[in-house]
Symmetry: C2
Subunit: 362 residues, 2 copies
């Protein structure tokens, strides 16, 4: 018995499962390669990765497997120059945390705040991955056509029906329906992100009914039962991020992995305090205090540069207080295993769930 | 082919589908009877219904069918006496709307703000429905035992794992996992309701994994694909509210039905401005303006008494501006048909979805 949807043919994968791109060091070459070899679509979260590092990471995967992989990018306008008072307010808000971690008071943040998307896409064209996905905004139709002409399949994130219809019209090959359960950054760009927090079940079904291209569901899916559920909704695949964070090969700090494995209920919240854009993670001291004090923040992605040393130092010290522990709402279902083992487990569980469902008809 | 889960045996229904209780006139005897006759569990939303009216409504159903039905109640402490300044602030906030609708300025709200729960439960014991469910809080273990001894199956709402475990320990027969997608009042009582907005997919799976008793999923389920999805998650049944609102037999105002049928994307929001407790509905002028002005409100359920004439007048006038149009996030999937037709359609669609899923194994 094997699990198959038309999406598998589109992506060139054995399974309709995507190991989600997670920027900031989680999606190591070892993780991507292991997920890809096991039959899922391995994905790099390259949002903060410079072209040379992209090349190095992909070469590391290609030394291990020739299975299809996905490169993912953040599409976002660079913020306007930041006024000195805004810098001062944002720095003051985090200065105490810098001090608590033994770090010198941070200097004002300077542009560029993130790698140049055009340079990243030029490198992606050289790399020619099987799949390229993007998040936080759309890509121009010409760019999508160019990628398509190179044989690269493209997918974009939608958090509402309007975004899915827009992406379909632009010419993407598939839609990632990012439900409200999803960990990490909200991909909303045509609406107020706080008014586009539709749950995965509702969103997936609405988008499946609205578009003609394949839909991949994301948000709150941690096991085969969750994959079977989104297939029931008419999705052709499932994208799982949080489930892969505790994997042996993931580059997430050990304290992030341990916090996921220790979760017993949904303790995630949406915060803008780490990067300047709303993202879902396990609540911790930084998120709680920055919210309570209504602390000022820089625009995305500059706030991420400001919080970077806090996150890095906290992660290395095994301290959960200042780390961005991105997580979906079903984090309590996290399991500790290798990525290959997880992919195979997901496959078996999905087949089991489908068998269990078949028995409900009698 | 028929659809069956052990929950059907527990509730005595043909199908693992619950027509959700919806208080305030939507769940008419005609709706409950039609849903029950067609094989679902018909449910009365009796939150605001006095015992004599409960008896009358149930007799009206029993004249039409002897199928099992469910009575649902709100469990909530009466608020402390309201200070005159609080009354004044809340009245001032809505006085302009009263005027706009040609209503006299409202008088201060007087207790009791809602029917007496003990009197309602005493009447429920006389009625002896097959099922009794409750919302907004727990019921004491002794009450649950008493109902159980009368042969009444009980179910309570949980919006997080902790609430589900608590209800299981109290002795309910089944849990209703109320996902973030759900329309109407959030049932959260052990947490901050805004931190317990877990999506239906994530919540259902986490609760199924945490408890031993049957779980019914609620929130964002509008068709057979949605029902199949929650069955895949291990739920033994699905509770649908919004899907039944546009039904011919539903008592919702026509403008509420039309607004649901016209929805094209998720335009629901959570508001406390109608009743004093967070509830999900289609955004409208009242919700938007009361939020923007950060208008003061009375505690639940007193605010509901204050907004009552606005809602009633607006509904009768076919005006969507001041009506509480409770709706789940998948409202755009609303369809216009009779309740019997809807139940049969849901049954067929679910079987079709299960068949479609079986074909993914090859």
């Amino acid at each position: 018995m094997k699990l198959h949807t038309p999406l598998c043919d589109l992506l060139g994968t054995r399974l309709p499962i995507i190991q989600a791109p997670m920027a900031g060091g989680t999606t190591t070459p070892a993780l991507v390669a292991a997920a890809a070899k096991a039959g899922a679509l391995g994905s790099f979260g390259f949002a903060y990765t410079q072209p040379e590092a992209m090349q190095r990471d992909v070469e590391a995967v290609r030394a291990l497997t020739d299975a299809p992989i996905n490169l993912n990018f953040f599409v976002n306008a660079q913020p306007a120059p930041i006024a000195p008072e805004a810098q001062r307010g944002a720095i003051d808000a985090v200065a105490g945390y810098y001090q608590a971690l033994g770090l010198p008071t941070p200097a004002p943040v300077r542009a560029p705040y993130a790698p140049d998307l055009n340079a990243q896409l030029a490198m992606a064209e050289d790399i020619r991955p099987a799949v390229l996905t993007f998040h936080l905004n759309d890509l121009p139709a010409e760019k999508l056509q160019r990628l398509h002409a190179l044989g690269i399949k493209t997918g974009g994130s939608a958090t509402c029906v309007a975004e899915a219809l827009h992406l379909e019209a632009l010419g993407v090959d598939f839609i990632i329906a990012q439900g409200g359960e999803a960990g990490g950054h909200r991909g909303t760009y045509l609406r107020d992100p706080y008014e586009a927090m539709t749950g995965t079940l509702a969103l997936t079904r609405m988008i499946v009914r609205a578009v003609k291209i394949p839909v991949v569901a994301a948000g709150g899916i941690m096991d085969g039962a969750g994959i079977a559920a989104v297939l029931a909704l008419g999705a052709q695949g499932a994208q799982l991020g949080t489930a892969f964070i505790p994997c042996t090969e993931s580059g997430a700090p050990p304290i992030h992995k341990q916090s996921l494995l220790a979760a017993r209920d949904d303790t995630t919240v949406i915060t803008e305090k780490f990067t300047g854009k709303p993202a879902r993670g396990l609540v911790n001291r930084y998120i709680r205090e920055m919210k309570a004090s209504d602390a000022p923040q820089l625009a995305f992605p500059a706030q991420g540069v400001l919080s970077g040393p806090l996150r890095a130092t906290s992660g290395k010290a095994g301290n959960a207080d200042y780390l961005a522990m991105w997580a979906g709402q079903a984090a309590p279902l996290s399991r500790e295993m290798s990525a290959a083992q997880l992919v195979i487990t997901l496959e078996h569980e999905t087949l089991e769930a489908l068998e269990r469902l078949a028995a409900l008809r009698r």
